[in-house]
């Protein structure tokens, strides 16, 4: 009897340890491939050196420069964004009790993209597009602010008798995204070639812009949002029974809803501001974890964080190498890898009678 429960805990630990190992391996692989091939052994030495655990002068200085100035910032950004997208997808799917929800459902990506496209296309005439630090910070801030504003509006409009009505929230999200799509279409209609290219970066995602400065602000925010979301495993488990039942078993449902939506909007908003809109990670990964292992949210949340990071790292490797020296937009690769996978999953679930 005691066994059944502790085994499930042990399973969780084993699955998480396995995923961490896979993620670590993929990360080292990603650090080693690129225009300059760095042997895995040197990658490990350089990382240990960076952590101050080891000193060696035997590693090629070119490798050290490539690692420190390009690959390490990029991989750190990829890891924190992938993790944040994965866990916010898992948390929102749990909250909406719907495995087909993507983080963008709460309007954050649509809002962010609208903000960006407005500034890119019409910003010049408002004198906002002077090069410099302001410009570097402007677009991320606009993306973050517009994304969060859209989500807060969605959340506010979904209030009914002092409670957030989830069905209305999802529909409001759809409406806000449709509105955002219309504004974006309109802006594209007026855009010139250059503006279109900048805009493509934002809508299809790009991990190439990682710098230590950007990461020092955005990295901690993403990590904090992700780690705070980890705490909702138990509440999300109770929500599996429905909102009233979760309340009966002691969950402050309204607070949980507000916190999860806010933290997810924060995570996705910051991700968009760093690397544009990267679709699919938040949709596919939690679903995959549930199908491959089990649906206990105390597993699904951390595993989706690891899995999201893994999918983004592997997609980034593909994006960087397949058309080298050019680079594919990361959003294209995640969707290219993710969609067929997802279709197979859906077919399998359908055939097993899970729908």
């Amino acid at each position: 009897m005691v066994g059944a429960i502790s085994i499930s805990d042990r399973h969780t630990r084993i699955v998480l340890a396995g995923l961490s190992a896979v993620l670590l391996g993929t990360t080292l692989f990603s650090l080693s491939v690129g225009a300059v091939q760095i042997p895995i052994g040197d990658v490990v030495l350089l990382l240990l050196q960076k952590l101050g655990l080891f000193h060696s002068s035997e590693v090629d200085q070119t490798f050290a420069i490539v690692m420190n100035s390009i690959r390490i910032p990029r991989i750190v950004m990829t890891l924190v964004i992938g993790g944040a997208l994965g866990i916010s997808g898992a948390a929102l799917q749990g909250l909406f009790r719907n495995p087909l929800v993507e983080p963008s459902i709460i309007g954050v990506s649509g809002g962010a993209a609208t903000g960006i496209v407005l500034v890119v296309v019409f910003g010049a005439s408002w004198g906002l597009m002077q090069p410099g630090l302001f410009h570097d910070l402007l677009l991320p801030l606009v993306a973050f602010g517009a994304g969060l504003t859209a989500t807060m509006a969605v959340l506010r409009m979904s209030k009914q008798l002092e409670q957030t009505n989830i069905a209305i929230l999802v529909l409001m999200g759809v409406a806000v995204n449709a509105l955002a799509g219309a504004v974006i279409g309109l802006a594209i209609f007026y855009a010139d070639e250059n503006q279109l290219r900048t805009f493509m970066f934002w809508t299809l995602g790009d991990l190439g812009g990682a710098t230590v400065e950007k990461l020092s602000i955005a990295g901690p925010l993403l990590l904090i949002a992700s780690v705070l979301l980890l705490r909702y495993g138990c509440s999300l488990n109770a929500l599996v029974l429905g909102e009233a039942e979760a309340f009966h078993s002691g969950v402050d449902v309204e607070r949980t809803k507000r916190h999860i939506v806010f933290l997810s909007a924060l995570a996705v908003g910051v991700s968009v501001s760093l690397a544009g809109i990267i679709g699919f990670v938040g949709l596919v990964i939690p679903h995959l974890i549930r199908t491959l292992f089990y649906a206990d949210n105390r597993l699904v949340l951390p595993a989706s964080m690891l899995g999201g990071a893994w999918l983004l790292v592997i997609s980034d490797v593909v994006a960087r190498t397949i058309v080298s020296p050019a680079e594919l937009p990361i959003g294209v690769v995640t969707a290219l890898i993710g969609s067929p996978f997802f279709i197979v999953l859906l077919l399998r679930a359908k055939n097993r009678g899970e729908f």
Binding site: M1, V2, A4, I5, S6, S8, D9, G94, R97, N98, P99, L161, C234, N237, A238, V240, L241, G242, A244, E245, F247, H248, S249, G250, V251, D252, V253, R290, Y294, A295, D296, E354
Partner: protein, 279 residues
């Protein structure tokens, strides 16, 4: 004691409950009966702290429910709905374990409680099966195990179990199991309040009965006193006959209306404050 004092509930200008008082005593089984739309489910929601009343107050063991946190409330009362959906692939045991959510207990204490209530509800045999593959009766027994697990442990204070038509889609054997287990819970210093549609079942299990109609309490008390032809006919607007069987302490009820001879008659709800009550 779980006590609702002069509760009124108005939702979007509609009076759902008006001046209702109910007491759930530890160790006692209280049955709430009444026609559809009488406000029975709303009464359970108010007692559970799920919605707040427009007037009146709820006290749980002399504490004002309005000032209690969801967690504190979950330690003294559990609620079994008519029907509970489980949206992801959870096993029966994982569902029962959700009843232990708010308890500051060790893993071993939790699994001891879960084991005991699953044994009692006859659900241990399929503890590792996925919930949505179970039959209707098995599902409801798993849910009963879950809410029992929530209030099962003996504590210094009494606990309460609120059942909202828990047997509405079950066969007679399963119905009997659910209510017998609820009665068993009464022996553990738990007060039970159940909405029951079948009047004969209500009178069979209850220590107290509350008749609700159009958001108002028609009468309340021990079954021998309140289970009368006139109370039933007033509450349900349906002619009935009561029969006594030798060896049974309480009468049973059969509608006396002849469906082959008479057309049914519908009685609209009486009006309060010019608001038509029919919800």
């Amino acid at each position: 004691m779980l006590r609702a004092g002069n509760i009124s509930v108005m939702i979007r200008g509609k009076q759902i409950l008006q001046d209702v008082s109910v007491q759930v005593l530890p160790g006692r089984f209280t049955a709430v009966v009444g026609p559809n739309g009488a406000g029975k489910s709303t009464l359970i929601k108010v007692l559970a702290g799920e919605i707040s009343s427009t007037e009146g107050s709820i006290q749980i063991n002399a504490n004002e429910a309005a000032s209690m946190s969801p967690k504190a409330m979950s330690l003294v009362r559990a609620v079994l709905p008519q029907h509970t959906q489980v949206h992801f692939a959870f096993t029966a045991e994982q569902v029962v374990l959700l009843g232990r959510q708010a308890h500051a207990a060790t893993k071993n204490e939790n699994s001891a409680v879960v084991g005991e209530v699953m044994e009692l509800t006859g659900t241990s045999a399929f503890r590792s099966r996925i919930y949505h593959t179970l039959s209707g009766g098995e599902k409801q027994r798993v849910q009963l195990a879950r809410v029992l697990a929530q209030v099962w442990e003996q504590t210094l204070y009494p606990r309460y179990l609120l059942l909202d038509e828990p047997t509405s889609s079950l066969d007679i054997a399963q119905q009997d199991i659910i209510f017998s287990l609820a009665r068993l819970a009464c022996t553990r210093n738990i007060g039970v309040l159940a909405i029951i549609h079948d009047l004969n079942q209500a009178v069979q299990f209850a220590d107290e009965m509350v008749f609700l109609k159009c958001g108002r309490c028609v009468c309340a008390g021990a079954p021998p006193i309140v289970f009368t032809q006139s109370n039933i006919e007033t509450t349900f607007g349906c002619p009935v006959n009561l029969y006594h069987l030798a060896g049974r302490s309480h009468p049973f009820m059969v509608p006396s209306h002849n469906p082959l001879a008479d057309a049914p008659s519908f009685q609209p709800c009486i009006q309060f404050n010019n608001n038509v009550i029919n919800q």
